[in-house]
């Protein structure tokens, strides 16, 4: 009996590690991170709302492509206006490209007219690794039930050239549209493109 309980626990353990690895159609892994105002923000606070996660590094050419063209900010404004939560996450380790102080982060938000709900710091890279975030940008959509609905690239053209933006299919927009229409995003999983995330080694 005793051993049954143990093996039951082991099975539960396997299941929970699977749930932790960010996979589409599975529960989005829970996390708590500090925002640029020093407050702790948890994913669980936003149950009942759509949440968009954006991994960023303001010095990365691919991030610059989407911020320089006001593409990323336009998405942020559109969706935060619709009561969607937008979390911008920085997983760059201290000393590496893209790592910024809270103050710089707020200045960047102002100067770029960005409109995220929060800018969050993940200097240890735990949350990024949990979501298997590989590049900046790398985008995720979590539905109101807390299920991961989209993971991958921001759009369909893998380039650093802003001229490609109007010709590309934006996967965040297509994913949110599909969810609004009551269907599943298509695609729901794409290979992201951009700079590698400068994780703590």
């Amino acid at each position: 009996m005793h051993r049954k309980l143990l093996s039951g626990l082991a099975v539960a353990g396997i299941l929970s590690t699977q749930a932790v690895a960010g996979s589409v159609n599975e529960p989005a892994p829970a996390f708590s991170l500090q925002n640029s105002y020093g407050e702790t923000v948890s994913l669980s606070e936003f149950e009942g709302k759509h949440v968009i996660l954006e991994w960023t590094n303001h010095e990365c050419p691919y991030v610059k492509k989407h911020y320089g063209a006001d593409n990323m900010q336009a998405l942020q404004r559109t969706y935060t206006d619709e009561d969607v939560v937008w979390l911008t996450i920085i997983s760059s380790a201290p000393g590496k490209q893209g790592h910024v102080s809270a103050q710089t982060a707020n200045e960047l938000t102002d100067s770029r007219e960005a409109a995220p709900t929060h800018v969050l710091f993940d200097p240890d890279g735990d949350v990024g690794r949990m979501y298997k975030a590989k590049t900046t940008p790398h985008m995720y959509i979590v539905d109101p039930k807390g299920t991961l609905q989209y993971a991958g690239a921001i759009d369909s053209i893998k380039s650093a050239n802003p001229a490609d933006i109007p010709n590309a299919v934006n996967y965040v927009t297509s994913g949110m549209d599909a969810l609004a229409a009551g269907s599943d995003p298509n695609p729901e999983l794409t290979a992201p493109y951009g700079c590698s995330i400068k994780y703590k080694s």
């Binding site: 590989k134 050239n161 700079c195 590698s196």
Partner: protein, 683 residues
């Protein structure tokens, strides 16, 4: 609205600035931070009507790199966009062999050294020599160390148009770049998707230092180690799936490289599971095409070396009869024989066996019998076998007579002797027929039979055609004797097939038996005392044949791949072992399953696992799904699997553990030990 306009305006500005920036520098060579790029040509001039090579040379700084067509986990492949130039058409980039470059926790595919991206350019033959052309390439690239810098450059190169050219100053670069290209031929490969891995298998590669580079970025996990191993001249690679792999692909493309040479691979799914039942039915037009092809195939069979002699004799013998009757018997003989084959194959298939046309040739006994038949026909054509009543007259009288029995047996004999020829040549075409529903398969086989019968039928029906045949005369005898040799050739081939099936010593016995057989036939025709000789021949033949039978029944010595302790799986064996609370490892495998082979080599046949399996209280059941088998299918369905591999460990007290599809010795041993612990606990 306002906002959208602003966005579009900003975008336009940015992209215009971009191009303005690029346009300012239209040189053949450009230096940018951490990189130098230049446009070069192999030849000194553009020659109308030829395809020649130009290329973009990329020189990153030390420790910096650029990318291959699949950049790996991050990064971006360089793009070359050619501006339109009158009379020039540009091909695709010929990518040199890439390196795997580790950057922090990621892996990129690219080039850390100077390299040349060659592009073929075809010069229109309408262009007149004289004058010059400027080739202009818009290049975009990304150069990275850990951080990346994107770049854009417009490169131009002006070349004269001339009727011949000499190597340019850069020609050396092209010679070197050619050495770094993958081979031009694409190798066929097979792949298979498990829950976490992709297994790829390729034939014909040696040495073990290969790395696979997927052409798409969402196939393989680039940073995971690849497991490469060899078995019987086949290379198997086990690659961790990408997080973005969706699985639904019917072709996967890879480059396989050992650093100095490489091949592109086009991998197809390994043995589809429902190849027998799951295939789509043919449309009417497809059916007509296949039937037409089968008819044509049947016609061609008439000139096969094993068939032609028999039919020639038949055709010539027809001339000696003014009015051949019963000609439908010939068609009937062929149809009956073909349909008997087809019905046998279909009914065996329905019962779960995978058989094709020529399945009977898999039996050494049949091969030996056919060798005797061909020797006999050959000898009778050489007139060694006396024409007359009894056994020896069979060939001649049955074939060359003019009655319905003779015609019928000519048909039957023709189909039998045709089968060694059809099997190797037509296996593929007939395979199509055999995966169709039985009615369509029968239809196609009958089209083949009609095609086969057609030339003789025409001779039967139209006397005018028969008149076109050469007049009978003494030459016929020479011709007939000459036809014996294709028969002996077929017998020689059959002996070779037999050696492959039963081994060389058995082949020697067969050859001796054939010799004895020929000797007895000769003896019989030569000696006067018919009775003694007949008894002698019949008993001799029987002795030879029984010897062959015994030898054929002994299968050739095969190296047993499975451990000695394995037992074939049956549901009953498993149930009775489980009822006795035994520890059981079930291994569901198939010859065509790549992952299974990898697992057998990497885990199951290792010392560590073999030692555990060897102990008396562990039972190892192996289910072979190489051919369809309902018992195994039921078992797989029980675990919601559509195919192999499947590994399950059972123990007392309903202990069941399904192992992952990719094994290590530790996974197997740990699972068995867990089951053993259950057993100790229970007892």
């Amino acid at each position: 609205m306002e906002l959208r306009h602003l966005v579009i305006f900003t975008l336009l500005c940015t992209s215009m600035c971009w191009h303005a920036l690029a346009k300012t520098s239209a040189d053949s060579s450009i230096s940018a931070p951490h990189i130098q790029v230049s446009l070069v040509s192999e030849d000194s001039a553009l020659v109308p009507g030829t395809t020649q090579l130009v290329g973009v040379r990329i020189e990153p700084d030390p420790h910096w790199h650029t990318y291959w067509q699949n950049p790996g986990d991050s990064g971006e492949a360089p793009k070359i966009t050619w501006q339109q130039t009158d009379g020039m058409s540009f091909g695709e980039i010929q990518w040199p062999l890439p390196q795997a470059i580790r950057v922090a926790h990621l892996v990129n595919y690219g080039y850390a050294d100077a390299h040349l991206l060659m592009v073929p350019v075809t010069v229109d033959k309408q262009i007149q020599p004289g004058g010059e052309r400027t080739l202009t390439a818009d290049l975009s690239y990304l150069v990275c160390k850990e951080n990346c810098i994107p770049g854009w450059a417009t490169l131009s190169l002006t070349l004269p148009v001339a009727s011949d050219s000499a190597p340019s100053a850069s020609a050396q670069l092209f010679t070197k770049a050619r050495e770094a290209l993958p081979a031009a031929d694409t190798l066929p490969a097979a792949f298979e998707v498990t829950d976490s891995h992709i297994a790829v298998s390729v034939n014909g590669l040696s040495s073990e230092d290969w790395t696979l580079f997927p052409l798409r970025s969402d196939v393989a996990s680039h940073s995971s180690n690849q497991q490469i191993l060899y078995e019987n001249g086949q290379l198997h690679a086990l690659i961790q799936q990408s997080d973005y792999f969706t699985g639904a692909q019917d072709t996967l493309e890879f480059l396989i490289s050992d650093g100095t040479q490489g091949y592109y691979l086009k991998a197809r799914p390994a043995a589809p599971i429902d190849s027998v039942t799951g295939s789509e039915t043919l449309g009417v037009s497809d059916l007509a095409i296949y039937a037409g092809m089968a008819l044509l195939g049947g016609l061609i069979l008439n000139i096969m070396p094993c068939v032609l002699p028999i039919l020639s004799i038949k055709a010539l013998s027809l001339q000696q009869h003014a009015k051949p009757g019963h000609h439908w018997a010939y068609l009937l003989g062929i149809l009956v024989c073909f349909n008997a084959f087809t019905v046998t194959i279909i009914s065996l298939q329905v019962s779960g066996q995978q058989l094709g046309w020529g399945f009977h040739l898999q039996s050494p006994l049949v091969i030996a019998a056919l060798a005797f038949l061909f020797t006999f026909i050959g000898l009778s054509l050489l007139d060694v076998v006396a024409v007359g009543p009894g056994l020896s007259g069979m060939g001649q009288s049955l074939v060359s007579g003019n009655n319905h029995r003779s015609h019928f047996f000519t048909g039957v004999l023709a189909v039998i002797v045709a089968s060694p020829c059809t099997a190797p040549f037509m296996a593929a075409a007939l395979g199509v027929a055999l995966v169709q529903p039985p009615v369509i398969a029968l239809f196609i086989f009958n089209a083949l039979a009609v095609g086969f019968a057609l030339p003789m039928m025409l001779l039967f029906i139209f006397p005018s055609l028969r008149k076109k045949l050469p007049a009978p005369g003494p030459w016929m005898n020479v011709f007939k004797q000459a036809l014996a040799f294709p028969m002996f050739a077929t017998a020689a081939w059959l002996c070779w097939v037999y050696a492959g099936q039963a081994g060389t010593s058995a082949q020697f016995v067969l050859l001796c038996a054939l010799l004895g057989f020929a000797f007895l036939l000769w003896l019989k025709a030569t000696l006067p005392d018919k009775l003694t000789v007949t008894v002698l021949s019949v008993s001799g033949c029987l002795a030879i044949f029984s010897l062959i039978t015994v030898l054929s029944l002994q299968p050739p010595t095969k190296v047993d791949k499975e451990s000695a302790s394995s037992t074939p799986y049956t549901a009953q064996t498993l149930a009775s072992l489980r009822a006795k609370d035994q520890v059981v490892l079930v291994n569901m495998t198939a010859d065509w399953c790549i992952t299974c082979k990898v697992n057998e080599q990497v885990a199951l046949s290792t010392r560590k696992v073999q030692d555990v399996l060897a102990s008396d209280n562990i039972h190892y059941l192996v289910g072979d799904w190489t051919n369809k088998n309902d018992e195994i299918y039921t078992y797989l369905k029980q675990y919601e699997r559509a195919g192999v591999p499947l590994y399950v460990v059972y123990g007392p007290d309903n202990f069941v553990k399904v192992l992952p599809q990719v094994l290590t010795p530790d996974i197997v041993v740990t699972a068995i030990n867990q089951a053993l612990q259950e057993q100790n606990h229970a007892s």
